[in-house]
Amino acid sequence: MIREHPLQSVSLAVFACAIIAAIGVGGVLLTDTFSGTTLFSEVFLDLHYLLMNGFFMLAVSLLFVGYYHYQRLVLLVAGLALSGWTLAHVYWTLYVYLASVPITYPSVAELGFQAFYLLILPTLLYLHRHAEIRLRRSLVPIIIAGPVLLAVATIGQPIPIGRFVYSLWYVTLAGASLAIATNLLLSHRFRGIAIGVALFAISDITYTTIAIITPQLTVEFLDPVWYVSATLIAASLLRYEQEGWLR
């Protein structure tokens, strides 16, 4: 009998807490929407960002501790991927609090946000090779769908060329990750990380589209999706290691 390592239990607990926090945020946002109150922005905003960054840091720490314990490189690479996004979001949050103005889009934080996809892509492809899963060509449209959606959404909008080109690049990265994650899902293998990355990518594509066509740079209803996905990615990888699927 394989004894469950405490790390897996902790990662599942963190994931469960993330879901509870997400439900809480969703509830408050819905209450504000239907009752016209501003409970979220006046009372819960600080706690929300503290929790969000906290969940990300926990997910990263779990993966790093997992790498230290199991010496499995895929855990380190996934942890580094999430670190990039976490650092970027910490920067983004601190900027808003310290400068008292929202950060521009794009900003230097985008380097961290895209860094997640730069490492999660090799991680997903590593899992494919490890489990001998073939990549389906039929998923290529998913990669193209993001940039096409962005291009269509921006028709007629006076958008600076630099912002548009960067957004296309970012959405393509996210779309590629979504396509490869979908491939894992369709292969019924490593579904946890596949769902985590897919949700992450969909949120990023949605955020980028909103950020480029509206002045809205904070999209609170997407935040829980990101941190639930991050904790799911960490919990899934640790479970795969525990089950011996990464050996």
Partner: protein
């Protein structure tokens, strides 16, 4: 800035010619580049300020890190392209840190010159803060790129492939660490203690990592030699 950079690089270049030990020469060369990069960064940042009508704040916390990390990393990329054998040893990581320290030396002196109006005690505090925090931050940021290239060359990440993505990641992480540090220091609400603490923690991490690399090198002197010929 030019005078400062020259004042540091010329004596060091002359010194390099006198040094026998190739490893010491290697490290000093990277330190010299760091000092030169400090001058170049200052010129480019000033141009950016006027060309794009940036605020000083936006320059310091967004654009300067991008420019500075790229300039500091240039010799690392040059070695990775043209002289890969130097990536085999852990001293390459130390060389990356030396670039950052050389850069910071020029930057610190330029800030010191501009802070002449401060009283002696304030000036001393200012210098100590910058020497401990900013210097180590610059070394750590460039060190991140050095570590990435070192591990890529030595086969640690061979099973993942996609080398260029890891290189870009290393650069992105270096820029973000730098930008985050500048953001915290610029807004002095909790700036100085956090800056010094982060500098000291980074230094401790660097020291532990370099010690570990030295131990690994003693047990496996040339990691690349362990790779079968057909993979090299």
């Amino acid at each position: 800035m030019l005078a400062l950079s020259v004042a540091i690089t010329v004596p060091l270049l002359l010194l390099i010619l006198l040094v026998d030990n190739p490893q010491t020469r290697f490290l000093l060369l990277f330190f010299v580049w760091g000092a030169i990069a400090g001058f170049l960064a200052s010129e480019i940042n000033t141009e950016l300020l006027f060309m794009f009508r940036l605020s000083t704040r936006d320059l310091q916390i967004q654009f300067a890190p991008i420019v500075e990390e790229f300039l500091k990393a240039l010799p690392l990329f040059a070695v990775a392209i043209a002289a890969r054998r130097y990536l085999a040893r852990h001293e390459f990581i130390l060389a990356a840190i030396f670039v950052g320290f050389g850069f910071s030396l020029v930057e610190n002196f330029s800030f010191l010159i501009r802070a002449q109006d401060l009283a002696t005690i304030e000036l001393t505090q200012y210098v100590i803060t910058r020497s401990v925090s900013t210097t180590i931050m610059h070394g750590t940021a460039t060190g991140v790129i050095g570590v990435t290239l070192y591990h890529l060359y030595n086969g640690t990440l061979d099973e993942f492939g996609f080398w260029p993505l890891f290189v870009v990641y290393g650069y992105c992480l270096a820029v973000l660490l730098h930008a985050l540090f500048n953001l915290i220091v610029l807004f002095e609400v909790f700036g100085r203690p956090v800056a010094i603490a982060s500098g000291l923690v980074s230094y401790l991490v660097l020291w532990v990592f370099l010690r570990r690399y030295r131990q690994l090198t003693r047990t496996q002197p040339d990691l690349r030699a362990a790779v079968p010929p057909e993979k090299s």
